[in-house]
């Protein structure tokens, strides 16, 4: 099916998410929609999927204009969407999730599971999408859940599939699988819109590429016509330098020593098991891996936010296993959390208070029972200048800041007491290139001041740019420790997929 968007404009209070966007994809083609986080890709696709009504412009399917008031209308017209955060009911079976909304019923009014199962099995064979119809979705791997989402769209006879950041949660072999599936889909005449901010993938799979920046189309091209550098320049609006200047590490004494660490998730499953490693003063150790392989729980356990089920953590030779975050902070540990909105800032508090969230009980901010407001204000002015935090004043609520500036607030606060160990989890997720470069620079500076740095990142580029040593995790285990000199993209990619070194 040929899908065209003409002049789509979508405004939210205070922002224009999409401004006069044109886009088209033919049947049998893959169109990549490329842009940074916040460029308006998801908004645009939600307009096409009927979740948002556009403020201007029109949608044409095979040449005739349509209006979608709801996802139901869009689904009926043959649009299928695989959301970045899967829209699956975890406690339902695969079959129930696929049926939901388009249930077939028996004559007595009950669900006709048999007919639905037959169609599902047929589809999964035809497109090589293997999945057990009776498994509960919550027990499936992320890759399998994605197959369920694609099956869901095909079950609804989608002619155009929108895949929103489909590779963000996949291992490299799973990505290869996905690309094979996409090829099968286009061979059957369907059109695919592939949303991503990863240049390599986009060039690999797309027939045509449309680049969005700040809600506007800044160019449409093909993989043959543009190199990754060209695409990057289009995407961010200037030449991009992802390499960080840094001298070779001069590791000193071990600061962090982790032995046989075992950590459980909420369901009681061991998601970190038998993990042992060291980080020395003056080096950056990066934990690489696909999202969801235990990194979150590992960091939370090290930061004192999650119980350690077995094993020990030593900081400067002292056993700190299971200590409260405040005790760890007193020993010179700082933590930049992965989810900044949830764990990093108190959105309703002003910036100045967020900057002393975990140090307010110390001098000079506290004097006995009294809080010294002037000291807190001075601290805020100084840090906002030092770290280039763009906010109207120290008094505005942290929630009103952009993601990048919120992250700088956290970095400014945490780096202030990262004397011995800095744990930075996904420190640049969702930030613009300028902020990324700035935070990378600061991390390297911290290392050069003699702190041990543990960086957790799912972005290989970031790992390669910063790390002196790389630890690769897979399903809660360390599957390889690689010195920076030996760390190539391919080698790390293999390890991330579970191959042992």
């Amino acid at each position: 099916m040929r899908v065209e968007l003409r002049g789509i404009t979508k405004r939210f209070p205070g922002v224009v998410a999409n401004a006069d966007v044109d886009l088209e994809v033919d049947g049998g083609q893959v169109l990549a929609l490329l842009g940074e986080n916040g460029a308006g890709k998801s908004t645009l696709m939600n307009v096409l999927f009927g979740l948002y009504e556009p403020d201007g412009g029109e949608i044409l399917l095979d040449g005739s204009p349509v209006r979608f008031a709801s996802p139901a209308a869009s689904i009926a017209a043959g649009i299928g969407m695989v959301h970045q955060h899967f829209m699956l009911v975890p406690v339902f079976s695969v079959l129930e999730n696929v049926m939901l909304g388009v249930e077939t019923t028996t004559r007595l009014g009950g669900l006709d599971r048999r007919a639905a199962r037959a169609r599902l099995v047929e589809l999964s064979a035809a497109y090589n999408l293997q999945v057990d119809p009776d498994a509960d979705v919550e027990d499936l791997s992320v890759g399998a859940q994605q197959r369920v989402e694609i099956l869901k769209a095909l079950y609804r006879q989608a002619d155009c599939l929108i895949l929103d950041e489909p590779t963000a949660v996949l291992t490299p072999p799973e990505i290869d699988d996905l690309f094979r599936i996409i090829t099968t889909l286009t061979e059957s005449g369907r059109s695919v819109i592939f949303i991503s901010h990863k240049l390599g993938e986009v060039r690999r799979i797309a027939d045509r590429i449309t680049v969005l920046r700040r809600g506007e189309v800044v160019g449409t091209t093909t993989p043959a016509e543009s190199s990754e550098a060209d695409l990057a320049a289009l995407m961010v609006g200037r030449e991009v330098q992802l390499v960080v200047d840094k001298s070779p590490a001069r590791p000193g004494q071990p600061v962090l020593r982790v032995e046989g660490l075992r950590v459980l998730d909420e369901r009681g499953v061991a998601v970190v098991d038998g993990v042992s490693f060291e980080v020395a003063a003056g080096e950056i150790v990066a934990v690489a891996g696909v999202q969801g392989n235990g990194q979150t729980e590992l960091v939370e356990a090290l930061a004192g936010l999650r119980a350690v089920d077995a094993g020990t953590v030593h900081l400067d030779g002292e056993d700190v296993t299971g200590l409260q975050p405040r005790r760890l902070l007193e020993r010179g540990m700082a933590h930049v959390p992965e989810d900044r909105q949830r764990d990093g800032v108190v959105g309703a508090f002003p910036v100045r208070d967020n900057l002393v969230l975990n140090t307010f009980r110390r001098r000079p901010f506290a004097r006995g029972l009294r809080i010294d407001r002037r000291a807190i204000r001075d601290n805020a002015s100084r840090l906002m200048a030092d770290f280039d935090i763009r906010a109207a004043s120290p008094e505005v609520a942290a929630a009103t800041l952009s993601g990048g500036n919120q992250q700088k607030v956290i970095v400014a606060r945490e780096f202030g007491h990262a004397d011995r160990l800095l744990i930075a989890a996904q420190p640049t997720r969702g930030l613009d290139v300028g902020s990324i470069q700035y935070i990378h620079r600061r991390i390297v500076d911290k290392r050069d001041e003699g702190a041990a740095v543990l960086l957790v990142s799912t972005e290989l580029d970031e790992v390669l740019a910063l790390a002196d040593r790389v630890i690769v995790v897979f399903r809660g285990h360390i599957v390889g420790t690689v010195p920076r000199a030996d760390a190539t993209r391919d080698h790390l990619g293999l390890l991330m997929a579970g191959a042992t070194a």
Binding site: S70, P71, A76, V89, L100, T105, L111, G268
Partner: protein, 425 residues
């Protein structure tokens, strides 16, 4: 477990916690056995018999009374429990633990009854009959709660809905001179309050606990005021009478089962029908799949074209109607008159049954039966004059509920989006 910890024989924190839990349960079993043996067995003079009556006046085939030696029965039951406790301590039942716990509980209750009836007579069938009767409004109320909460709306207003419906049932039935018309009125008012709850929680996104509490307070105030002003003045408006008992031919003549199951009023039959119907509806039909989807992951339901808000409105109103039926039981199925605050917290007990029953109609019925059993036991024991204050018995099921909700006896998982308003986009 990693090789290192296994080799060293070191327990991880989680394993240690599990071990501790299993051991605690074993000790509880042994304690129960000790109470049964020492208290219920040795607490009775030797040679006494316990007599259990199996007939209810005028119904069913006559059966001889069941007469058992009190000491011996209590002792045997105690030994069974002690044995189970021992096995639990030694190696632990894992998957069968819930069933084993149920066996211990039943043994304990049986030993208790034998002790209480030692040297006296106790009508077992009569108690089962009153258990089912007392469980009926609780089970209906819990089913109303299952409907609302499966769709993602917490219904703490059950109490107020039931109370208002009880009042309306009495008023309408008296005015119309027909109890069935009263039931219809009660169901309608329940549905209306369901709509109020739906508007508060779905459209205005009021905190659902607060919205429900407001309805409860409003219902108590309104019904108390009206019954003082209206019913005291015009007493003929508060004399609806009670729905008569319908005996099902043949089945009602069965011994024990007949009087318990097949000689009841409309409410009991309605409840016994509603539970399987609701189970099939929720888990086997398109309607149920959508209701559950909306309660678990409304955004997922929205993206496949389901109108989340509409499903929620309809289901909550339906739940209100079922709560109305539960409320009508108090005036038209039991007392035959409205009294101020006559539901006396049973809406909250229905809520407890809903949680105890794991948001499942059948589980809710089972929990309601446990609560109904405790209530009826308490009233029967007052007659037998045992040394235990009967109020303690009334507390027992709620202690069990607390333990269940706290996750001691298996986890009870609420629908994921229960209590969360849905905002589109």
């Amino acid at each position: 477990m990693t090789a290192a910890t296994r080799a060293a024989g070191v327990l991880t924190t989680s394993q240690a916690a599990e071990r501790r839990r299993a051991r605690t349960i074993g000790v509880v079993f042994l304690l129960a056995a000790a109470v049964m043996g020492a208290g219920f067995g040795l607490g009775v003079e030797a040679g006494l018999d316990s007599t259990f009556g199996l007939n209810v006046r005028g119904t069913g085939a006559e059966l001889p009374d069941l007469v058992v030696p009190s000491r011996l029965v209590a002792a045997v039951l105690a030994v069974v429990c002690a044995g189970l406790g021992g096995v639990q301590l030694a190696r632990g039942f894992t998957r069968r633990l819930p069933a084993v716990a149920a066996v211990v509980a039943v043994c304990f209750v049986a030993a208790f009854l034998t002790w209480a009836a030692a040297g006296a007579s106790f009508n077992l069938t009569g108690m089962l009959q009153s258990t089912l009767l007392r469980a009926t409004p609780l089970a209906l109320g819990a089913c109303a709660g299952v409907l609302c909460e499966r769709a993602g709306v917490v219904n703490i207003a059950l109490e107020g809905m039931m109370l208002t419906a009880a009042f309306t049932g009495a008023l309408v039935a008296s005015a119309a001179g027909d109890q069935l018309v009263g039931v219809v009125g009660a169901v309608a008012v329940g549905g209306l309050l369901g709509l109020v709850l739906a508007l508060l929680s779905i459209r205005y996104r009021v905190d659902q606990i607060i919205g429900g509490t407001v309805i409860n307070i409003f219902a108590l105030g309104l019904t108390s005021f009206l019954s003082q002003k209206v019913f005291s003045e015009y007493q003929e408006l508060n004399s609806p009478g009670v729905l008569r008992v319908v005996r099902i031919p043949l089945l009602a003549e069965l011994p024990v089962l007949g009087p318990v199951l097949f000689a009841n009023n409309l409410f009991v039959y309605a409840m016994l029908l509603l539970v399987p119907l609701l189970t099939i509806g929720l888990f086997r039909t398109r309607w149920g799949l959508r209701v559950r989807a909306v309660g678990e992951h409304p955004r997922a339901a929205d993206t496949v074209g389901i109108d989340v808000l509409q499903v929620r409105y309809r289901t909550v109103v339906l739940g209100g109607m079922v709560a109305g039926l539960a409320g009508a039981f108090f005036t038209l199925g039991s007392v035959g008159r409205f009294d101020e605050n006559m539901t006396a917290g049973r809406g909250f007990i229905a809520l407890a049954a809903l949680i105890f029953g794991r948001w499942h109609p059948v589980g809710a019925l089972a929990a309601a039966l446990v609560f109904g059993f405790a209530e009826s036991l308490q009233s029967k024991l007052a007659i037998l004059s045992t040394p235990i204050p009967s109020e303690f018995l009334l507390m027992a099921p709620y202690l069990v509920t607390l333990l269940v909700v706290a996750g001691v006896v298996g986890r009870s998982r609420a629908p994921a989006a229960d209590g969360q308003p849905y905002v589109k986009g």
